[in-house]
Amino acid sequence: MMRRAHLTACVTLLLTAGMGVAQSQAGEWVSYRDAYRAMVLFDKYGGPKNLLQHQLQVLPREKGMLGQGVQLLIKGSTVQTSLALDATGRTTLPLLKAAYDENAVLSPSRPLGGFTVRPRTTLALRADGAYDDAELRAACEQALGFARYADNAARARQCIGVRLVFSRQGEQAGVRVRASGAEQALPLARGAAFSGDIDDDFPVVTYRFGPAAGELITYNAPLAIVPLFE
């Protein structure tokens, strides 16, 4: 008798959950609470971080799905917000208690065919486009400090440089190093903004820290300056 009751309860639950599945689009949402957990870590970090920015990146399962105009929506019972994504899929996630308590979801403004989200730490951009070598090193060290705080596996890593990521369209991606009165252009390549990203055709310039200190001049604003660890 008890077993029959258990079975009935399980079947009822299964049907209830099945209806839920039918109503939701598989892979087209992410729990706000889970994203919040990842993002709040940076807020709670007590180390130096004034040269950094921490954002949430939307990663579609397939390449090329992040076209222009895609937004990330926060949908709760009372909270409804849309967040603009940059070309790399990043946005600043507001840490909202109401959205957390309502178990809100994050979903794209148009179908992406499934996506995940990931926290990304990058260097803060400067309005004048000039980055002193010492400042880049300090920012990279700040990013490494945070990475070590969040991940024990990062303890053995060292800062080796930065990657400047530019928009695919529009203005040219030019970066020059100014040292001892001379300027030298850094080679441009195609690659992913962040290691492991499926979109790997961004114009990128890699600057590796060397013994000679200089100044990095960007003639167009990069999308992101990514710290490189090795």
Binding site: H6, L13, T16, V21, R37, L41, K44, G114, D151
Partner: protein, 282 residues
């Protein structure tokens, strides 16, 4: 960062092992709660050859101050660092009686001298716990300490004291977990392996046979020592059906080892527990 997308959802009744969910930072005054029900197939008792299927309540609550309830355990996260978790832990150790089979209990209970039964008749009896003194549910106290080798790899440990008839049984669980292996969108797989080390009092309570027990049950007297009690491997599959509902499936294989392995109460050293439950996220 994957650790933060892991739900260490505990199955309330599937195992005696203490459950400690990953730390869960949230806004002050908030909480994250899962509750649900499902079914579990598990050995009738540790070392039993027979299995039983029963309802499986699922409960996990975490509060912003670090307190948590996870299955049969409750505790508090005291660490401020994301790579280390530690804190006090309370756990309810399940009771053990002749159950599962009341008739057998009743039948054995009225026997004045079961040890004098013919051997063949004793072997025919399906329940080796028949005649053994019951052990009530016990509240154990202790602490846990977890260390993240990397965000997806967690070393776990816990020490609990208070199990057994005399409440003097102690157990230490050591384990390693591979968290949040995303096999498909909304599907995550977590793997774990571990070992349980206990003191002699624990083993004597749950796997020993005292002279009185021997007289009442027909089992030979047995006094196991302490040491490694079992080794285990398991997998947990979480399927987020929608933002609120989740299907949690657990499979765990446990092998009794050491002096426990030779206990007259142990019918088979390897047991498998399988459970599935729906949980609602509040």
């Amino acid at each position: 960062m994957k650790q933060f997308f892991v739900l260490a959802l505990a199955a309330a009744s599937t195992a005696a092992s203490a459950q400690t969910p990953a730390t869960n930072p949230m806004p002050d005054g908030s909480r994250d709660m899962y509750a649900g029900v499902g079914a579990v197939s598990r050995p009738r008792y540790e070392g039993a050859d027979s299995t039983k299927v029963s309802a499986l309540p699922v409960l996990q609550v975490q509060w912003s101050n670090g307190l948590f309830i996870s299955g049969m355990s409750a505790g508090m996260h005291l660490s401020n660092r994301p790579t280390v978790e530690y804190g006090p832990l309370l756990s309810v150790h399940p009771s053990r009686d002749e159950s599962g089979s009341g008739r057998i209990v009743d039948g054995v209970g009225v026997s004045s001298a079961p040890s004098l039964l013919p051997l063949a008749e004793r072997l025919m009896r399906a329940n080796r716990l028949a005649g053994m003194e019951d052990i009530g549910a016990r509240l154990e106290g202790g602490f846990f300490f977890h260390y993240y080798l990397a965000p997806e790899w967690r070393l776990t440990s816990s020490v609990l004291y208070g199990a057994g008839r005399e409440r003097d049984g102690a157990r230490m669980e050591l384990g390693v977990q591979r968290l949040a292996l995303q096999v498909a969108p909304q599907h995550t797989l977590a793997l774990n392996a571990g070992v349980t080390i206990v003191n002699p009092d624990y083993n004597r309570a749950y796997f020993g046979v005292s002279e009185a027990d021997a007289w009442n049950s027909g089992n030979p007297v047995y006094r196991p020592g302490g040491g490694i009690k079992d080794v285990r491997v398991g997998a947990r599959w979480n399927w987020a059906l929608n933002p609120s509902w989740m299907l949690v499936t657990n499979v765990q294989a446990t092998r009794l080892v050491g002096s426990v392995r030779n206990s007259p109460l142990v019918e088979r050293p390897t047991n498998v527990t399988v459970s599935a439950a729906f949980a609602y996220r509040f």
